[in-house]
């Protein structure tokens, strides 16, 4: 059948099972929006307040399920506004498709209005980017883009389509049978056997889980490995939803702001099985001192991660889920009473004393008690992100949405919207007053589309994380981190059409949260916390567990 480029784009989106796209219209995507408006394929469009919000929403939509998030933006500033979102998705291996309009082919290279080389600009922020010059190539390129986004280590892919190409026509042939064969890229069995032997012979094993475990849905195998081998599980920030914190083998997040029992276990272990981790500096601290007493087995689907940061004794590239399944099946039943005893001591040694009653810990635990195991929980970036990683009990994988790799302040509101749309559940966003001010405009998106998001602002009147670093490493000289905004977030929320509350104690928080659940749209609960609350204990950047600051 003869279709325009825009119609082909919609056909392929439908073919790929896309039911929602997030975006913002503009001159060079007019034709695409016009065809989307015809709604022939039932694809819903969520208009965001800003293209960055659309990119985070597509990311959040993707993280909570097995779907690819899709965003639409126009050329020039529309496209550049998506780059932070694409880089965020790239750093955390999230499959997202960005479709941008470009100036007409004849105008390319003339510095015309809203012209920029989007495909080149996004080189460092995407798994791949395409610039389509021929309407006949739209279908195949889009199918390729979805394949690249989903296969191997997932990631974002950008497709830039000139506005005139969107309007040209060509013959389109729908895919008769969708039978895409994702390469299995199996791990080498000899190496897996060696890994099993190393685990069997270890006396102090730790499984160090990253986002790869959550991505490939291998949580069950991690539990089995821990329970059978007597190993404990430590996590990167991206991996913490892989196991409930009530599991006896759970140690929590390791690293700079993590649970120190996890970091100490890693420093004392004789074997680390690193699964789906990329050894971020926030997780390892000083790299040359990481797990000095241990042999390291590194398993990852992306072989380019092997040896990049830590030269593991055994490097296994390939399908992580299959590798963990093999290990779980083949390891011996084992227990290590001495290791258990030491771990219990580590846990006691690093217990944090609370200072005031309305603490971040209590706020997070209270909200935790009011949600259920399927509630998507997003965070922004800063101290609150660390507190959520420590104190929220994630019982189900893919319920924790955070910018772990790129550390994008302002990520949370869009992500919570995307997660809410994908799951059709009320999502929760924990944010700080600094992060929330970056993208609170997206509250208007949740209002307009009636998306249930409850925003918990842990408001300490400043940029807490950087203020904490200034206190520690700049002799307490605080600069540009004391915001003194005097913003009433409850009133601001009401002004945008959302529900707004202020909470100064746990009772007010509970009342506000329960009331927010009675509405179908968004709510903002502004929780005033002391500026003395810090993300502690902390290992200084490039430090080790020996440099611990409490």
């Amino acid at each position: 059948m003869l279709l325009t480029g825009s119609e082909i784009v919609i056909e392929i989106l439908a073919e790929e099972g896309v039911d929602t796209v997030f975006g913002y219209p503009g001159g060079n995507v007019l034709s695409l929006y016009d065809k989307l408006a015809e709604n022939k394929k039932g694809i819903k469009h969520i208009l965001t307040a800003h293209e960055q919000g659309a990119s985070h929403a597509a990311d959040g939509y993707s993280r909570v399920g097995n779907k690819v998030g899709v965003l639409l933006a126009t050329s020039g500033p529309g496209a550049t506004n998506t780059i932070t979102g694409l880089a965020t998705a790239f750093a955390d291996s999230v499959p997202v498709i960005a479709i941008t309009g470009s100036v007409p082919i004849k105008s390319v290279g003339t510095d015309s209005f809203q012209e920029i080389d989007t495909a080149s600009l996004t080189l460092a922020a995407t798994k791949h980017s395409f610039f389509i010059k021929d309407v006949k190539k739209i279908a195949d390129t889009m199918r390729q883009a979805f394949y690249i986004a989903k296969s191997g280590r997932p990631g974002p892919v950008l497709i830039d389509i000139p506005s005139d190409i969107q309007k040209e026509t060509c013959e389109f042939e729908p895919l008769k049978e969708k039978n895409i064969d994702f390469e299995e890229n199996m791990a080498d069995e000899k190496s897996l056997y060696e890994a099993v032997e190393m685990i069997n012979n270890s006396q102090r094993p730790v499984i160090y889980c990253g986002g790869g475990v959550v991505n490939c849905e291998a949580s069950e195998f991690i539990k089995t490995i821990c329970e059978k081998s007597g190993a404990y599980a430590a996590f990167t920030m991206m991996g913490i939803s892989a196991m409930s914190n009530t599991h006896p083998k759970y140690l929590g997040m390791a690293g700079l702001y993590g649970r120190m029992a996890a970091s100490k276990a890693i420093s004392k272990a004789d074997l680390i099985v690193a699964a789906g981790v990329r050894f971020s500096d926030r997780g390892t601290g000083r790299r040359e001192k990481f797990a000095q007493n241990a042999k390291v087995i590194h398993i990852d689907i992306d072989s380019a991660e092997l040896g990049k940061v830590i030269n593991a004794h055994l490097q296994i590239g390939g399908n992580l889920k299959k590798a963990l399944e093999y290990i779980a099946l083949n390891i011996k039943e084992n227990n290590h009473p001495q290791w258990d005893k030491e771990i219990e001591e580590f846990k006691k040694e690093f217990e944090v004393k609370e200072t005031e009653s309305f603490t971040p810990k209590k706020i997070i635990e209270t909200v935790n008690s009011l949600t259920n195991e399927y509630t998507p929980v997003a965070t922004d970036v800063g101290q609150h992100q660390m507190w959520v990683s420590k104190y929220y009990n994630f019982k189900k994988p893919k319920t924790h949405l955070t910018s772990g790799g790129f550390g994008t302040m302002g990520y949370g509101m869009g992500a919570a919207i995307g997660a809410g749309v994908a799951t059709k559940r009320r999502s929760v966003l924990f944010t700080g007053d600094g992060s929330f001010c970056m993208n609170f405009n997206e509250v208007t998106t949740a209002v307009r589309n009636n998306i249930p998001v409850t925003v918990i602002v842990l408001n300490n009147g400043g940029l807490g994380m950087i203020r904490q670093l200034q206190d520690c490493f700049c002799d307490g000289r605080r600069f540009s981190t004391e915001l003194e905004r005097k913003t009433d977030f409850a009133l601001l929320a009401k002004a945008m059409g959302a529900k707004g509350y202020s909470a100064k104690n746990i009772d007010e928080l509970i009342k506000a949260y329960k009331d927010s659940e009675n509405s179908t749209g968004p709510a903002v609960i502004d929780c005033y916390i002391s500026e003395k609350e810090n993300a502690l204990p902390m290992i200084p950047p490039n430090g080790t567990i020996e440099d611990l600051m409490r």
């Binding site: 495909a119 080149s120 080189l123 460092a124 798994k127 791949h128 980017s129 610039f131 690249i148 191997g152 992306d302 072989s303 380019a304 092997l306 040896g307 990049k308």
Partner: protein, 76 residues
């Protein structure tokens, strides 16, 4: 720092040179010579002389090998 040669076979994609040079730059390598030869409409052979840390040579090959249009990257 060491100097070595990298040979690539790849799809002849418009932005491939950008992707390769960006990857080398990102990983701290300096390009000393770059030769791009189109073999047919669809394939290209690329020879690069680069300087960088020897212990990162294996790593950059892995990074180049995962680029979408690269078929094979080898070094000598």
């Amino acid at each position: 720092m060491d100097t070595f040669k990298i040979y690539l076979t790849a799809n002849n994609a418009g932005d491939l040179i950008l992707r390769i040079t960006a990857e080398l730059h990102k990983r701290g390598f300096e390009i000393m010579a770059f030769n791009y030869q189109v073999n047919s409409e669809n394939t290209a052979s690329i020879g690069i002389t680069a300087s960088g840390e020897t212990n990162k040579k294996e790593q950059i090959l892995r990074q180049l090998n995962r680029l979408y249009d690269i078929k094979e990257a080898i070094a000598c």
